[in-house]
Structures are given as structure tokens and as C-alpha cells.
């Protein structure tokens, strides 16, 4: 029996599988079940079928939160990608103080979200905020994120980009560092411009890393909560509410766990939808490369 080693790989990965089942599988099943019940504190849960889904899908604030989440997530993820790509390309060159600049760029990842929100809140305070005064004096813009929902969402996006940029930057920088210099030199000898070198050589090699960064950031960004909650609490008039806040209100302000769980499942489906698109592209790319 021990001569046959086919069981060995299964045995080796079984602890991880077990961990995944315990940490992700079972809670997910519990949340799915919870979404089909009427459940609150100190009371027995009762099965209500799809009522919670009907309730959230007929709530205009749920749809507003979904649209806000979708818009912010796309702005944040793509803005992060473009900025991180430019920074990674710049950091790939040799220059004095590169280590220090790299450290400064990844520092926001070590800052707690609460501190970051307080810092940006004061920087953009309508009366005394430095950035607000600059915006007003240089461009005549009255940036009042507390009153104007568009400004509120913009500040949430800026904050989110600032906090999470290091994640994308590290992935892209690592990928760009692995592109062989001789390949780029060969392309240049063949007459390729720098733009063509980037598009036809560098980008093709780092494409899988870009897709992975995009996919992870999409999934993380979909859970957007603390930046929005700490800054605007979804206000004014719940116009800057995102799905994370909608879920939080249901669960921890109204103690209405059924709709909260249904919102969680809806968020999971949104993430899966986005992730499956990128996973498919990744799989196709890998297949094409043999």
C-alpha cells in the first residue's frame, strides 16, 4: 500500500483544505443559511425563504449603494493600476535615493485606516484644511465633501487609493523587475520605440501579474467600508453609501441579520463575477503560452 504514492499529494494539501473548509466554507454556508432567515439578537431565527433578498432588492438605497460601490471600485482599482504602473516603471530605473522613495511610497500600507481618515479629513476640512485652501485659492474650487456627495465619493476614492496603492505597486514592481533586460535591448536593436518596448515586451511579460493585482484589488475594494464609514457614514442623505455600510447598518445598527447576510451574499456574487472574468483571461493567457 505504501508503495503507491498517489495518496501523498492529497495528504500533503489536506491540512490547507481543512483550514479552508473551516475558515471559509463553514462560515459561508452559515451566512447563506442566515440570509434565508429572520434573525435578530436574543430571538430564535425563523426561515423566511427569499424574503430578505426581495427586501434588499426592492430597497432603492441598496441599489444606490451598489452603484456607488461599482463606481468607486472601478475608479480606485484602475487609478491605482495606472499610478502604480507609472511608479513601478520609474522605480525600475537607477537613481539616487530610490530606496528611500520606495519606502515612502509603501508607507501608507502601514498606516491604520482610522489615522489615515482623520489625517485626510483635516487636510480637506472646509474651513481650515490645507488642501481645501489650496484648491480654493489656486483653482477656485469649493471642495466640500461633507455637503456635496460627489466630493464625498471623490475623497473616499482618493483615500482608498492612497491606502492601497502600495499593494499594487509591490506586485507590479516585482513583475517589472523580472523582465529580462536583453529582451528589451533586442527589441530596441530591431528599431522599437520605448513605447513599443513597453507594450510589446514588458507588458506582455507582466500581464499575468497585472491581472492578479487587478483581481485581488477588485475583491478587496468591493469590501470597501472603513474609509467611507469613518469619513461620511454614507451621508449626506445616504448618497455616499456603499454596500459595506449598507450591510453594517443592517447587522449592527438594526440587528437585522437576515438582510445583512443577504447583502453579504450579493457582494460575494459581485466579487465572483468580476474575479471570474479576470480568472478566465488569466487562464486563456496561460493556455496560449502553453
Amino acid at each position: 500500500m505504501f508503495e503507491d504514492k498517489r495518496w501523498l499529494p492529497t495528504l500533503m494539501v489536506s491540512p490547507v483544505l481543512l483550514l479552508l473548509i473551516v475558515m471559509i466554507g463553514i462560515p459561508s454556508i452559515f451566512v447563506a443559511w442566515l440570509s434565508l432567515t429572520e434573525s435578530t439578537l436574543g430571538a430564535q431565527s425563523t426561515f423566511v425563504g427569499l424574503d430578505n433578498y426581495r427586501q434588499i432588492f426592492s430597497d432603492r438605497i441598496f441599489w444606490r449603494a451598489t452603484i456607488n460601490t461599482f463606481v468607486i471600485v472601478n475608479v480606485v482599482v484602475y487609478a491605482e493600476l495606472i499610478i502604480a504602473m507609472l511608479l513601478a516603471l520609474a522605480l525600475n530605473c537607477k537613481f539616487f535615493g530610490k530606496g528611500l522613495i520606495f519606502s515612502i511610497l509603501i508607507a501608507p500600507y502601514a498606516v491604520s485606516e482610522v489615522s489615515a481618515v482623520v489625517m485626510w479629513q483635516y487636510a480637506f476640512e472646509p474651513d481650515v484644511g490645507t488642501f481645501n485652501l489650496l484648491l480654493e485659492q489656486l483653482f477656485g474650487i469649493d471642495f466640500n465633501w461633507s455637503r456635496n456627495p460627489f466630493h464625498g465619493l471623490t475623497l473616499i476614492a482618493i483615500l482608498s487609493i492612497w491606502i492601497h496603492l502600495p499593494f499594487t505597486l509591490i506586485i507590479l514592481y516585482s513583475a517589472i523587475s523580472t523582465v529580462p533586460e536583453d529582451l528589451k535591448s533586442a527589441a530596441r536593436i530591431e528599431g522599437a520605440t520605448e513605447r513599443q518596448v513597453f507594450r510589446l515586451v514588458t507588458f506582455r511579460i507582466i500581464a499575468p501579474a497585472v491581472l492578479i493585482a487587478l483581481m485581488f484589488r477588485y475583491i478587496f475594494a468591493m469590501r470597501l467600508f472603513s474609509e467611507a464609514w469613518l469619513l461620511t457614514e454614507g451621508g449626506p442623505a445616504r448618497l455616499t453609501e456603499v454596500l459595506g455600510i449598507y450591510l453594517f447598518r443592517s447587522a449592527f445598527r438594526y440587528f437585522d441579520f437576515g438582510p445583512a447576510a443577504a447583502t453579504g451574499i450579493a457582494m460575494q456574487f459581485l466579487s465572483l463575477l468580476v474575479a471570474s472574468f479576470y480568472l478566465y483571461r488569466l487562464y486563456k493567457g496561460m493556455k496560449a503560452n502553453g
Binding site: T40, G42, D127, N144, L231, P236, A237, L239, R253, Y254
Partner: protein
């Protein structure tokens, strides 16, 4: 063989060590009383100004008190979650009246038996209205500890700077607020009036000061679309549009009100009396000793009231049903509720739930607002009844008020909408 023995010995030592560690942890757990509440509960029980009576109790009983403090909403979320589990390390929890839930009997211990076997000194003095609010099916679940009653706080330095007098009617409050909205010589922009938030709790203060209006009575009569409430929302809209309320009012938190008052960016505030200590805190405030707290004056057209019948909210102490040491928790509550400790807590900035506390000479001597607070208490009422939809109703109110402040709806449209949306959420 020798090697195997060594391994076995090491293994046994490890097991013994783990067992000893477990024992010491469980012993340490038995000597800790965990309380979930707001920071203000901890401060009023442990500050040295009036006396650290919670610390003295802990020392006498050989107990260590572990305080888990959060902001108001999070206190209830944590407490109710802990009380819903099969077991908890929480022994005592604080909850505010508008967060009382019909599910209390499933989560908290009825206190009648404890009260009968080990009574609270001078229990009969505790206000019946507060005790009734915590009684379900004839059983008492909470002991009142603190009331928070609204006052008008005025920065007298700014008042003098503009050559103004302390207002005596609500109309004068609005006039003074308008006059105190200005830019100081050093460039500081001053806002005339601060409100704690945009919930019905704060707006009802305005409605009551103007015309004794009400949003929702304790017996669930909803009057959101009444002329009194519409007028109150109109007043708030006017103040916001005129720049009397801060530009950031739409995202304001309690902490912001404190900061604005301490920095002199807010000239007056309608907030609980106990906040006087924060506004005058010499370590943080730029105007220590300059901010006075008086009853909010009633409108000159409001007959029968010398001062506005503003909000009073109260907090009570509860024992979770799943607590390990309910007797000790009860002893902690008994100690905190005694007449002497009620006075000590008041000197530490608490709103005393025992009327007799105001007769103590230490109160008048050390609390500048003691007499004013006592005056207001005689007419103050809770702003909202407690039931399981109260948070949802507050969110609806805030949403509609925001639409008024953004200029999207008129006060009348917004309050009619509140009336329509809240009605189905009321208990049958």
C-alpha cells in the same frame, strides 16, 4: 531508551506547564469583572475629582475591573452580541433608554430577586419613570445610573467680544447665534450654534424650545409632520443656510462639537450638561472656565415653561443572563447606585439619577451647573421611546433632514415623508 525517557519527561513537563497556565488563566478570569459601556461611565466611576469609588470597590473585593468602552452605538452592539452568546466574559453592561429592546428578557437577568435579597440603599428614590422603562412583564432588568440632559453652553469670552448678553428666550438664542457667527481678528471662523447631530433627538430640542413640539411620544404617537416639527426643521435649515451651523454639520460627530467649542470655533452648543467639563478642560480647551452651561430658554410664545422641556436620556446597568458571576456583578451595581457614590459620580461629571444628589452642598460648591441641571430635569423628557426599530427611524429622519439641508426637499415634504416611512415601523 534513555533518549525516549528524556522526550517523555519533556512532554510531561510541557503538559504540566500548559495545565498550570490554564489554571492561572482561569483563576485570573474569576478575579476580573468586565464592564461594557461608554468612556463616560468609566470616567465618572473612576475619576479622582469626586472619588474613584469603582476602584475602591475593586480593591476591597480583590477584583480587577476590565472596562470595554466604545461609542454609543457600538456599546449596544457589543453588549447585545455578548449577551446573545452561549457564554460571555461580560458581567455588567450599560445601555441607553432609546436602545432598550423587547428581547431583553432573553438576554438579561431580571434583578428583582437580587434587589430583594441584597437591596440598593435608598432604592425608592430612583425615578419611577426610569424604572418603568426598564420593566418588562413586571420584571426589572436595569438600574438607572446616568441621565444626560440637554443644556445651552455659551462661550462667554466670545459673547463679551461681541458685546452681547446671555439670551433669556429662544428667539434671543437664535439672534445671539447669528451675531456670534463671524470671523475673529485672528482669522478664526466662528459658528454661532452647534447641535450634537441630525437625529430626532437634537431636532426635538428645537421643536420643544419653540413650541413644545414632539417627534414621537413615549406611547408611540408619531407627530413628525406636525407644524411644530416642520417649524423646527425650517429653523435648522435657516441656520445652516445662514452659516450659523458649521459647513460640516452634515458629517458632524459629538467629538467635532467638543473640538469646535474647545477651539472657539463654536460659540454656543445645545448638548448635555456633563459636556461642560470637556468644554472647560484646561488641558484641551482654549477657553477654560469661560464656557457656561444654562437651561435652554423657551420661546417667549411658549406659555407654562420657564425653560425649554429639552431631552433627557438615561443609561442603566444590566447583567447579561450568561454572565459567570452575577452576584459580584450585582454588588458592583449596588455599590455604583448608592446615594454617596451617586454624588461622587456627579462630581466626576455624571448626571445623577437621584434627585437628592442636588441637595448635597458639594454639588453646588463644585458644579457650576448643578442648579441649572436640576431646574431642567423638572421639565425634561426622553426624546424617543426605546424599541427595536428606533435606530432605523433615526436613520430615516437624518436622511430626510439631509435632503432639506441640501435644498432637495422642503421641510414640509421631508417631514411628511418621515411620517409616511416611519408609521409602518411603529409597534402595533
Amino acid at each position: 531508551m534513555k533518549h525516549k525517557s528524556k522526550i517523555m519527561l519533556a512532554g510531561l513537563s510541557c503538559l504540566a506547564g500548559v495545565a498550570a497556565l490554564n489554571l492561572s488563566i482561569s483563576q485570573a478570569g474569576a478575579e476580573t469583572l468586565t464592564a461594557v459601556g461608554h468612556k463616560v461611565h468609566q470616567t465618572t466611576m473612576t475619576s479622582d475629582v469626586g472619588g474613584n469609588f469603582a476602584g475602591e470597590w475593586a480593591e476591597k473585593n480583590g477584583v480587577e475591573i476590565e472596562w470595554l468602552t466604545f461609542n454609543t452605538g457600538a456599546v449596544h452592539e457589543r453588549l447585545y452580541r455578548e449577551a446573545s452568546l452561549s457564554s460571555t466574559s461580560v458581567d455588567v453592561g450599560f445601555a441607553a433608554n432609546r436602545f432598550f429592546l423587547p428581547q431583553f428578557p432573553a438576554m438579561f437577568e431580571p434583578l428583582d430577586d437580587y434587589l430583594a435579597s441584597n437591596p440598593i440603599e435608598g432604592f425608592d428614590e430612583l425615578p419611577k419613570g426610569m424604572l418603568d422603562a426598564m420593566t418588562i412583564d413586571g420584571k426589572l432588568y436595569g438600574i438607572p445610573y446616568r441621565h444626560a440632559t440637554a443644556a445651552l453652553h455659551i462661550n462667554t469670552a466670545l459673547l463679551e467680544e461681541k458685546g452681547l448678553e446671555v439670551p433669556t428666550t429662544f428667539e434671543e438664542v437664535l439672534d445671539v447665534a447669528r451675531a456670534l457667527s463671524f470671523t475673529r481678528d485672528d482669522g478664526t471662523k466662528v459658528y454661532g450654534l452647534m447641535l450634537d447631530d441630525r437625529t430626532p433627538t437634537s431636532i426635538t430640542d428645537i421643536a420643544r424650545a419653540q413650541s413644545n413640539g414632539e417627534f414621537l411620544t413615549q406611547d408611540f404617537k408619531l407627530t413628525a409632520s406636525s407644524p411644530e416639527m416642520i417649524a423646527a426643521v425650517q429653523t435648522v435649515q435657516d441656520l445652516y443656510n445662514e452659516g450659523v451651523l458649521p459647513e460640516t454639520y452634515l458629517s458632524f460627530l459629538t467629538e467635532d462639537v467638543i473640538t469646535f467649542m474647545q477651539q472657539g470655533r463654536g460659540a454656543m452648543a445645545i448638548s448635555p450638561f456633563g459636556r461642560n467639563k470637556n468644554y472647560n478642560n484646561p488641558d484641551e480647551s482654549q477657553f477654560p472656565g469661560k464656557i457656561i452651561s444654562i437651561p435652554l430658554p423657551a420661546s417667549e410664545t411658549l406659555t407654562g415653561f420657564k425653560v425649554a422641556p429639552v431631552r433627557t436620556e438615561f443609561w442603566a446597568m444590566f447583567i447579561p443572563k450568561n454572565s459567570d458571576d452575577k452576584d459580584r456583578a450585582w454588588d458592583f451595581i449596588r455599590n455604583a447606585s448608592s446615594p454617596e457614590n451617586t454624588i461622587k459620580a456627579a462630581l466626576n461629571g455624571n448626571g445623577p439619577v437621584r434627585p437628592s444628589a442636588y441637595d448635597d452642598p458639594r454639588m453646588a460648591e463644585r458644579l457650576s451647573y448643578a442648579e441649572a441641571e436640576q431646574t431642567v430635569l423638572s421639565v425634561a423628557r426622553p426624546p424617543l421611546p426605546g424599541w427595536d426599530n428606533s435606530a432605523r427611524v433615526q436613520d430615516i429622519f437624518v436622511e430626510e433632514l439631509d435632503l432639506v439641508l441640501l435644498g432637495i426637499k422642503t421641510p414640509e415634504e421631508a417631514m411628511n415623508s418621515v411620517q409616511e416611512r416611519v408609521t409602518p415601523l411603529l409597534p402595533e
